[in-house]
Every structure is written in C-alpha cells, then in structure tokens.
C-alpha cells in the first residue's frame, strides 16, 4: 500500500530548486526530523476528511504537513519567518465567542458545523453582508459574481435589515463594524437605503467593499452614500501600474477625487500574489502616503489559493504574511522594517485594560495570531516616514497594560482607577519624544483612546496615520481549525446563520454558494421581474485612451512624490520600476526632489 511518501520524495529529486521552494522538495524522512511547533486539525484538500495537521519549522519557514489515508501527504507554507511566527504567537489568546450561538453542538464536526456554534471563540469584529452577486466586472480569478445565466442573489432591503438586526443582537458584544459587499454592492438599486438601514441598526462603522468604479464615474452617488452613513471604501487596489492592477487602475484618479469631495476615507486592499504584483508593495504604500488625506490604510491580503490548482503554480504564487512583510522591508530599503509589525491580537492588551477598568465589554480583536498583522506609519511634516515602533516601546506598552489588568482583578472601582492612573503615567516612559513625529503628541492620543475608549478617539488616531495591515485568509492547503474557530470576520446570511470568512469562502459548496442559491432567483425569472435588465448591460466598458488622457490621471500618477526617494527616508526610490503610461519613471523622483526644496523653503 502506498504511504503517500513516494510523491513527496519524488519531488525532492528535482534539479536546481530555488531556495524559497526548497521546503516543498524534501524527503519525508527529512521532513519528519524537523522540529514540531504545534499540532492542529485540518482538512484533506481533495476529500475534506478532517485530518491532523503538524506545524513544523523548516529553516526560516514554518510549514504545515498533513496526511490523508486516501490522498497522501500535503505540504504547504504556513508562515515564511520562524522568528516572527514565535513573536506573534506570544500575543495569541482566547477571546469570547457568542453567548447566544446558533448551534449547540460544540462543533465536533468543525468546520462543517458552522452557523455559528458555541465553540467559536471570537465575536463578530467585521460583519460582511452580501447585497448582490451582480458585478460590473468579470475578473478571471473571482468566483463571487453571477456569470451569465446564473441565478441572481439580491436580497431585499427588508431581508438585509433583518440580517443587520441579527448581527446587532449578538451577545455579549454585538457587531459594530459592517462591510457591505457583493458582487459589486453599488449595483444594488437601493444601496443608499441599505446604508441608511445599517446606520439605523446601530453600526458605527459602515464600509463599502467596492471596485470604486461606479463612484468614480458617478460622484453624486459617493456624496449620497456618505450622507447615508458610509465611513470607508474598502477598495480593491492590486498595484500602482496598470499591469499589476488591471481592475481599476484607470478609474482610481476619479475614485479618489469622488471620495475627497464626499469626505469618505479609503482603505486600499491589494491581493498579493507572487509572480503577479509582489514587486509593487513598496510602491503601493507610497501611493497611499501620497494620498494620505483620503487613504486611511493599506490592507494587504496575501492570496488565498482557494480551489484546486496545479501544485507547481500554487507553490510559486504562495505568499504568507511574513513573506509580504519582508518584501515591504526590502522594497522600502528598511524604512518599514519587519520588526514594526505586530499580530492583530496584540491590541487585545488595550481592550482588556479598558474592560478591567470600566467593567464594560469592548471590541475584542482576539483572532488567531497567524491571521493578521499590522503597524502604523506616521508621515511627519518634513515627509519623514516614521513607523510607530521607532518612538513607542510597543512590547513594553503591552506588558504595562497586561500587568495593570492582572493587578485590577478582585479590586473595587476606586482601586482599579488608581492602578489605571499609575499605568497611564507609565506610558510616557515608553514614548521617545525626540523620535516621535513633530506633528503628533502620541502620549495624548493614546491617553485619549484608553480613557475615552470610543470610536471617535480611534478615528482621530487614524486621521494622522497610515495603517498598514495584513490579512491572510486560509485555503484548503493551509487550513487550520484553530484559526477558523477564532475568526472575527463573519458573513451574515439571509437564513440567519453567521459564518466565519474561512468556512464561508473555503467551502463555498456547503456554505456561501449553497445558501445564496437557496435565496436566489433564477436568471430567467429575474429577467421577467426586471424586463429592462440584461447581463451584458450590467458590465462596465472602459475607454482606456480617454481615461489616460484625463488631467486627473496625470495629476494622480504623474504628480506622485516618491517619499522613499527623499534623503530623510533613505533616498532610494520605489517608483522607479513602475511603468505607467504617459508618466516618466524619473518624474516621480524629480517630484520628490521638488518636495525637499519646498520643505527647505518652509524651514527658512
């Protein structure tokens, strides 16, 4: 009988394997000798049998291996930096799930018991609600939209309001941030009313997950959406050049313009794929800095290789959170070092502190440490890029807050306040005032967050910074049940179920597509209900020449300052390898030199 080891050993015989692919090309004897970090449960990518997964160290890489009795061995990169993995792991903790879960079965058949069950360990941090599966684009890699002839999923406003209320009734912590998504959500004819309903239901933060194209082409819609309550556009942005970002490169100038006029913040969302756009990470950050008046964050999403694909292609395209972080460090020549990044549950220290002090539930980002990471950048008045870790002892801050939480246990209200005061005074010692941005009093900002602990404090903090995030969704190959049971990005469905992102999208056949089909209308029936509708008319047609000749296009891409080319940031450009039609490569470097001159003049 085959042990499944043969095909792995076979792969090991390949000649001249590049360094980054070597972990895939070892013999099982070699692999089994590697140090084991932890065990988890996972699935067989072929037959979905629940099997044991072993997370192990292979040089600088953290790998996951699993064995299915029917389909043999599977190896996949889990995390491309062992030291960073161990650092992030230190911030992991178990949060609280739902006090009113939908399923009382302890999730013994996890991940096929979702809906959400009592085993889940994190409340809804960001709720996704799909309002349509129609889209004006037809991207080759996307499986989120209805292709020609497929049923249309477009819930009514009444249905959507019911979903919103369901999310708000979660206990003990109701969802407070919502992302309205699709398809392309702006194709829902009642999108403005949907946003109003979200605000009425009580969501503080309303994001629109959009290509932005409909807003760029129709700025009035952006104004209406802002008035209705949209706080942020969560916008796909896969690169600065048209090669890396064929989806909305040409419309981006119009979208930024519309968002500026409507006062809507933007989160740029690049999906990072090796061999496709991984060379533009630094340039994308530069683009965000160049539009920091309107861009609040760049949230990189290392690609989730959902569905079957050839092994070789998967190995070549695979990138994990530390892989992207290291590329950013490399492309920005150390201006944004890998040490500046912390795992998302790091901020749990802040919510624990506030809860222990006030006795009130706070938003709790207790997700798995391997799911996300982030850092803050400050763009100072002299255009210097300052990562938060340059002037704040971030590790010390977490230790200080955790120590205060431990001391508060069992104490009365006054004693807790005294402990908190002492901790808050200690924060000043963790801030290097000589290195902090001249335009920011970080101690005051942090004090405000910890004492006011509301979204407005956080909002003020974000206005002066650029948040860089990483969110790596799982796929069949990297699947780790420990991760999914801590997921806080949930999809709320019309049948009342709430599903973690990585069950909803990794097993669409039993969750996303299945439930949406139940609540869909067949295309022929949809046509009868909407006689003026036809599939092709939904699609956006681009006039590239017209868009490239638009003054806004030149203003946005041609006037970009290359911040990393400034001496204050190391003086090495990030835009010199980016090719944009009609924009000279040296132009952005020249703009950087001009910016230096302007700053000098200001100084005088």
């Amino acid at each position: 009988m085959s042990t499944g080891k043969e095909h792995v050993a076979e792969a090991a015989k390949g000649p001249d394997v590049p360094e980054h692919l070597k972990p895939y090309h070892r013999t099982m004897e070699e692999i089994e000798k590697m140090p084991v970090i932890e065990e988890t449960m996972t699935v067989c990518p072929e037959c979905k049998l629940i099997i044991k997964g072993t997370i192990y160290k292979d040089g600088d890489n953290v790998m996951i291996r699993k064995y299915c009795p029917e389909h043999g061995w599977f190896l996949e990169k889990y995390w491309e930096d062992y030291d960073m993995y161990m650092k992030m792991r230190g911030y992991g903790y178990n949060g609280r799930g739902f006090d009113n879960p939908n399923y009382l079965n302890a999730g013994e058949n996890c991940p096929f018991d979702c809906g959400i069950c009592e085993r889940h360990k994190t409340h809804t941090g960001l709720a996704n609600v799909v309002v349509t599966n129609r889209c004006h684009l037809s991207c080759w890699y996307c499986f989120f939209y209805a292709k020609e002839g497929e049923p249309i999923y477009e819930p009514t406003v009444q249905q959507i309001r019911k979903i919103f209320d369901n999310l708000r009734s979660a206990k003990p912590i109701p969802a407070n941030a919502i992302q309205i998504t699709g398809g392309e959500p702006t194709m829902h004819p009642e999108i403005v009313e949907i946003v109003k309903q979200a605000k009425e239901a009580g969501f503080d933060q309303v994001q629109l997950n959009t290509t932005g194209i409909n807003l760029g082409m129709n700025p009035d819609l952006a104004v209406k959406l802002r008035k209705a309550g949209v706080s942020t556009l969560y916008m796909s942005f896969d690169g600065v050049s048209p090669r890396a970002n064929p989806k909305n490169h040409w419309e981006i100038p119009h979208i930024l313009d519309a968002a500026r006029k409507a006062h809507i913040g933007i989160v740029l969302v690049p999906t990072v794929i090796r061999t496709i756009n991984e060379q533009e990470l630094g340039a994308m950050i530069n683009f965000a800095l160049d539009n920091i008046d309107i861009v609040r964050a760049v949230n990189f999403q290392p690609v989730s290789l959902v569905g079957r694909m050839p092994t070789r292609m998967r190995q070549q395209q695979r990138i994990t959170i530390p892989g992207a972080i290291k590329l950013i460090e490399e492309q920005t020549h150390g201006a944004i070092p890998k040490d500046a990044w912390f795992s998302v549950p790091y901020v749990g220290g802040i919510s624990k502190f506030v809860e222990a002090l006030t006795g009130k539930f706070q938003y709790d980002l207790s997700i798995h440490f391997a799911c996300g990471a982030g850092t803050y950048l400050f763009l100072d008045s002299d255009n210097k890029i300052i990562p938060i870790t340059d002037f704040v002892d971030v590790v010390g801050l977490e230790e200080l807050l955790q120590k205060a939480v431990n001391s508060m246990e069992g104490k009365n209200g006054i004693q807790r306040k005294m402990i908190a005061m002492k901790a808050l005074l200690g924060i000043n010692g963790l801030i290097n005032k000589d290195k902090q941005p001249k335009s920011v009093n970080f101690g005051k900002l942090l004090y405000s967050i910890l004492t006011k602990h509301d979204f407005s404090s956080l909002g003020a903090f974000h206005m002066k910074t650029l948040f860089l995030g990483m969110m790596h969704f799982q796929d069949d190959y990297t699947y780790d049940i420990h991760r999914v049971e801590k997921c806080d990005i949930h999809y709320a469905m019309p049948d009342g179920e709430v599903l973690p992102f990585c069950t909803f999208n990794v097993f669409p056949e039993v969750y996303r597509d299945k439930i949406q089909r139940q609540y869909s209308i067949p295309a022929e029936e949809w046509k009868k209900m909407h006689p003026d509708w036809n599939y092709r008319a939904d699609k956006y047609m681009r006039n590239v020449k017209l868009l490239e000749n638009d003054p806004l296009y030149q203003k946005t891409y041609g006037n970009m300052i290359d911040y990393f080319a400034l001496p204050v940031n190391g003086g090495i450009p990030v835009l010199d390898k980016i090719s944009i039609p009609g924009v000279s490569k040296s132009m952005n470097v020249e703009k950087a030199a001009e910016a230096v001159e302007v700053e000098k003049e200001k100084g005088k």
């Binding site: 037959c47 979905k48 049998l49 629940i50 099997i51 609280r96 006090d99 009113n100 879960p101 939908n102 399923y103 009382l104 079965n105 013994e108 058949n109 996890c110 096929f112 018991d113 809906g115 009592e118 819930p155 009514t156 009444q158 249905q159 019911k162 209320d165 369901n166 009734s169 206990k171 003990p172 919510s351 624990k352 809860e355 222990a356 002090l357 006030t358 006795g359 009130k360 539930f361 706070q362 939480v405 508060m408 246990e409 807790r416 019309p494 049948d495 009342g496 179920e497 097993f507 056949e509 039993v510 299945k514 089909r517 139940q518 609540y519």
Partner: protein, 169 residues
C-alpha cells in the same frame, strides 16, 4: 414549547413564526426532517469520517442541513422532499437512503424517524433569535462581580428614568 435545530438538540423556541414569508423571500415552508438512529459504529468509522459524510450530504442542494453524530450513532437531515411546495431542488427519502448506502451506511427501516419540519418556525426564526446559553463577563471581572456592577447600573438607570418621569434633571 421547544424546537430542534439542525443539530437535533432541543432548545427553547426563540421566536414566533415569521410574519410574512413572501415579503422576505423565504425559500421553504413545510419540509421534512429525518433521523437515522442506531447506526453501526463500524460504518460511521470515527468523528472525522462523520464530519466528511456530513459535508458530502450538505453538497446536495436539496439538503438544507445535515448532522452526523458519531457518539450518538445518528444522522439527521433536513431536506426538501418532492411534495414540498417550492421550486427548489428536491430529494426523496429513498434517494437519501441510497446515497447513504453508497457512502457505506446501511440504515434499518425500523430506526428511521421522520416528521414534517417547518423551515420558517424551526430553522429560520430560531436562527434569528437564538437564546443565551451563558453569560460572559468583561476581562478582569468574575461573573459574580460583573453581575453586581450590572445590578448597580440598572438601579442607576431606573433612578434616572424615575427622575425624568417626575420632571427631575
């Protein structure tokens, strides 16, 4: 009154029947729930195989929810039977049994329990109003401590309301 959710666990009824099913396009009305009991452990194999069987059952569009319980040696399925009044895909009881047979599960007719299942009342309404099964406390507080501060807060809140009723500030 109690209902059973898809997992087959009896729970308190969270809400009354949905107001108008047509207004919110609820796809099912009266469907069926079937239970196959006393299954052979050697056919179910173990929990991972039960989970995969549950996944395979769920691949059928006509199966709304399935639960395969290794410990209880039970499979329960909520499904859209051929006589149900809706246009969604259907599956018959015999087809279900045939499918299980192909998966290596032989069911005994005497161990089958089937009943009508009201999707709106038992599934849909329940999902929107699940009851609380526990009471968490904020970090740094025990449940007892938290219950006390909650009580205090409620008293303050009541007093505030009282003052408002009597015109106080």
């Amino acid at each position: 009154m109690t209902t059973e959710n898809a997992s087959g666990v009896a729970k308190a009824d969270g809400a009354s029947a949905e107001q108008s099913t047509s207004a919110i396009n609820i796809p099912y009305g009266m469907i069926k729930r079937i239970e196959f009991n006393n299954l052979k452990k050697e056919e179910l194999i173990d929990i991972p195989h039960c989970a995969r069987l549950q996944y395979r059952l769920m691949l059928h569009d006509a199966i709304i929810k399935a639960k395969v319980e290794f410990v209880k040696r039970r499979i329960s399925v909520i499904y859209n039977h051929p006589e149900a009044e809706n246009k969604k895909p259907k599956i018959s009881r015999d087809e279900l049994i045939e499918f299980l047979k192909k998966e290596g599960i032989n069911v005994d007719a005497s161990n089958i329990a089937e009943r009508d299942y009201d999707y709106v009342k038992e599934f849909y309404s329940y999902a929107f109003f699940p009851p609380e099964i526990r009471h968490s406390a904020p970090y740094g507080w025990t449940r007892e401590e938290y219950a006390k501060i909650q009580e205090k807060r409620n008293r303050k809140e009541k007093a505030k309301k009282g003052m408002l009723i009597f015109g106080g500030k």
